[in-house]
Symmetry: D2
Subunit: 366 residues, 4 copies
């Protein structure tokens, strides 16, 4: 049982609290001889970093990563890679009030009930800060994928922010041009106005994030409990505040008929199968088809809001909770790089698992 | 890495193909001294058994379970419990055609690509028959829960069949009175007509199943990767044909505001917390709250239909696939007892894990 | 936690009691396309089978293995392989007396204390019959090694039986020519006389078994807790009645100086390193060197003897235990094929793990 | 697969190289509410610290541990505990020569062959410095045992140094009074003279360490692969340079008869079983008996000696290796606290596992 580890061969163990001296992760099982340095990891961390615009928490963390082990002369050695990020902008006094009070929608009450002790400064392990360690690990996974499966590209983007989805066609080039990673200039504008209003009223909203991985070779995954989608579902559901995970058609698959849902197959010019559609999200029977792997997850609205909500204290007294502190009105925005990181880790892990069992050999068609 | 195992302390390893001599599972880590016999397990298997009405496959399997180890004089011994179900109604000749052809929407093509070999008789490991072993394991989990946490009740039911959801209020008493396990007499009638039509036209449809577990003690689960919902998501996504998993509000959480989503807390008369709503689905920060644990998943329509779909053969030739055989027009119906079984296994597993780490002690309120 | 599973990628889960209807194992993670049938596995089981001569228990078990899954048309499919052996010669009445009495040196008392229930017919899971499942799994591992690393040869033999070791040089050709698998005709003769005497006096003796694996490629294993020798030690110590495990020089390494212990290195004609000696037993820093991997373990004398030993009953009364039944005067004899099987499983598992992490690539010398 | 993790519920993942900026470990699964601070861990690290007398390496490391997470206001929170030790006295230039040369008896050659890259500064992960992280983890385990099973006492000591064992009776009070942790004043004197001579001649020697754990409750462990002794064997064999592991009678069990080896049982005045001897080393059928758990392991002599040994370079040239640097003439001395730490971790882990499966309930006698 690994409470704080995910992955089978490429294993990531995260550690650290929101308001402790540091947080980080140990990445075990990375292949040797992968080019890696702090700059490569920092690139991805900077995408997740808070305080970059008015839509995310104003806590200002440099999120500077240090590699403490496992890399020698710019390449991985095959030994565990320790990544450490120091916390520099804790303001624990912001949390004085919640030491005795359970914030509705937060893990305060369940942590207390389970452990009988809780680091009440900012949510401890259940803080979104834990996801910085995931993004750092994702940076290692991306470096290893670049070496082992150079065709793989992993892109995350938002497809819904509270009341608003995306109307009209998606333009993937827009993703990097707005603070919401949304593939639509029009949506970016609508969403900005919506979020401004929410923020001013002290409210928050949920989000839907999609991560698409192209270039994933056919044959990753395994039947039954070793399914690629099983691990993707677990990886995404393990992100703070996530309440739903979908592959391809997702929950809407329940509404379809077999005729509509079947992705027809023909043979492409290069001898590889070509599919007429991708309802399956790139995975059949738990194994990748070679199409884009498409994963979607929903992040609930942060419960840290200025609107008063009824709750109780540790001593059982009724109270009202109004969360001031520094919080994200839509924490889902910063979940985009986290989702990408999780998908990168899972795909690399299954690439390594597949090398173990099949040696990477493939049944041929034609 | 456990390709065919799930669970941490209560571990289930399933084995067996659709058309081999038998299938089954090894259940390891069950507490000792739990009352158990074949009748208790058979009860749950009979709920999943095909051929019981015109809405499920006409393959007639007795699905008779045998306990080969781990039970002595009517009680578990703490050693591995082997459960075996013999296949008795294979008609492998039904599958002669698919030996050389990849059925769209099935795992035929990905299994071939990955392994370079495939037991083409009825889908092998990716057949819904594998889920019989899960239901058997779920029977063991239920027996252990009855001994260790007698208040836990786990109920599965369908909430959508293709185009049709449930209109009007739910009546949980109806679940056992119709072939769809739907908590609504009116829906049962509508769905029956709809499914008749689909069946006659040789089509199929998807389904949405909800499993609700009441009486789950607060404190099960763990932060980060050991979340109760992480394991529930993995367990449900590992079921054949599942494409989405939701906890509580699920994907709709993306649409809510923080004000709407917060489950307010007060203290009940018995000194335990009482929640004003259950958007969280009974889980906060990965740990159970004591409310009902609510999980939902979507099953895609079976791809085995009479409608011709374009595909290719192993030698790369274009072809059209029409699946005759004996198939479920809505395979999601039989996924209800499977979902219940997976939820039972996960809850028991986390009950045991919690005993390991905390000894079952709890932080007190008041 | 896997109470009854060993291995990482090639995972074996055994199940079954000495006097239940059957026992067996699930082998998960075997590479696909390995030639395998029941005859190949039976070959190894027949070597372990009891009742073949007067030196082993007179219980007559056919130990006939059935493959229930995972093999299709003579080749493995990559899905779990279920191997079942039915028990046919139980004489449970032999065990009536021990239901209430704890046999000294047996697990009767600890099983009772731990579980509060125990299948008292012949030791249940702690019976040497459990090792039949290991030998069957070892047969699968050997078949996979034959396909993936054809140069590997694994040979087990006894190097001590109670008071007697091997005097004079070893002759490996003798191993198959005597009932003790001892590489010395002279020792075989001495040991036979010694064991006859022990058996007649109702006593038993311990044994030392060595397993040597040649042709193991350099580079298997990993530093720290993933060491090849760590897994070999665990695998051998998990065999019933084993009390010590050694690699290469073993416990005697404590007596040596650094000068004596260093295995000097030179370059062979084929460009591979050649070692002047093999104190290391083929493993340096947890990773195979390419030399023979040499493992040794000690099996304690069976405690089932005719000599009366003091003990207590479940109700706490003092008693004397004399074990009649059908037992091995030197149970270590049948541990030889078991040790071979465990070594085969561990080497295959590390071969697969190495493919995962390094893809089988190697640093070159010269 | 966890290359750098050991334990099932109480899981320790170590990281860091001998000459990197730091090393440490993540301890996951520790029960909450255990009193813990840096002083408590430092106590055990100071016992292992090098440079304390002329018999250990003159590298002077403060080995100062920092707790970076998982402890709040002096108590564990149930979340991962990160322990970091900075390296302060690296003299990597000592290792310039070995960048291109494989030292006989070291892992230089196998690391190179496996990974094609190697941190050649001081052995990287295979350096004895990695064991500092184990000792730190052991400090956490001891703190948890003090809270959960206060009767457990774990004591390590040397029983052999090269040519010399212990003559005469053991006096456990002497263990803390000499630099070798040997339970005999006379042996301490003999060994000191012997080691002086070895050190002057630039040679080294092996060692045998015994760890005895008293007060371990009956019932820890599990049959087959979850045996307490299986995990003890793996834990000890995973320590650098260990070549053999024994439980109780160990390898000598091969020499005994069943009559001699049986530990007779009677009922003590307090209603608990009392054993007439402890050949079993406190473990029967993989489960603790309540007697002292006795583990022994052999450490080979360090290969870093002034005596020239033949070897080859990376380019395949023959060479002679003379290791100057700062090394332990008997590295086994510092393995005593390491062995204690591993045993503490394993016993705690099995205590937690037993709570998971049985809830700590016991079958009663009498």
């Amino acid at each position: 049982m690994s409470f704080n580890t995910f992955g089978h061969v490429f294993r990531v163990t995260t550690w650290g609290e929101s308001h402790g001296p540091a947080l980080g992760c140990t990445v075990d099982g990375c292949p040797p001889n992968v080019s890696l340095d702090e700059t490569a990891i920092q690139y991805w961390l900077d995408r997740r970093k808070p305080g970059q615009n008015k839509y995310t928490t104003q806590r200002r963390e440099a999120d500077q990563v240090r590699i403490l082990s496992g890399v020698f002369e710019g390449r991985t050695t095959g030994t565990p890679i320790q990544l450490m990020i120091e916390n520099t902008d804790q303001r624990s006094k912001d949390y004085g009030e919640i030491a005795e009070t359970f914030r509705p929608g937060h893990a305060d009450i369940t942590y207390w009930q389970k452990y009988g002790i809780r680091d009440y400064r900012g949510g401890g392990r259940s803080s979104a800060r834990e996801t910085a360690a995931r993004v750092a690990a994702g940076g290692v996974a991306r470096a290893a994928l670049a070496a082992l499966a150079p065709g793989v590209t992993i892109t995350g983007y938002m497809t819904r922010m509270g009341a608003h989805g995306i109307d009209g066609p998606r333009d993937m080039d827009e993703i990097g041009r707005n603070p919401f990673w949304v593939p639509s200039a029009a949506a970016a504008e609508t969403w900005a106005a919506y979020l401004d209003e929410l923020r001013k009223s002290g409210n928050s909203c949920g989000a839907e994030i999609e991560v698409s991985a192209s270039g994933v070779p056919a044959g990753l995954g395994a039947p039954v409990y070793g399914k690629l989608d099983t691990d993707l579902a677990a990886a995404c559901m393990s992100i703070n505040a996530v309440k739903g995970v979908e592959i391809g058609e997702g929950m809407d698959a329940a509404r379809l008929t077999g005729e509509d849902n079947a992705d027809e197959i023909r043979l492409g010019n290069d001898g590889a199968p070509v599919y007429g559609s991708n309802h399956a999200g790139g995975i059949l029977g738990g194994i990748s088809t070679g199409q884009d792997v498409v994963v979607r997850f929903a992040v609930k609205p942060t419960s840290s809001i200025l609107k008063p909500r009824a709750s109780i204290t540790k001593s059982g007294q009724p109270t009202e909770v109004v969360t001031k502190g520094r919080h994200d009105p839509c924490v889902g925005i910063r979940a985009v790089p986290v989702g990408e990181a999780m998908v990168a880790c899972v795909i690399l892990d299954h690439l390594l698992l597949d090398r173990a069992q099949t040696g990477g050999q493939r049944g041929t068609i034609g």
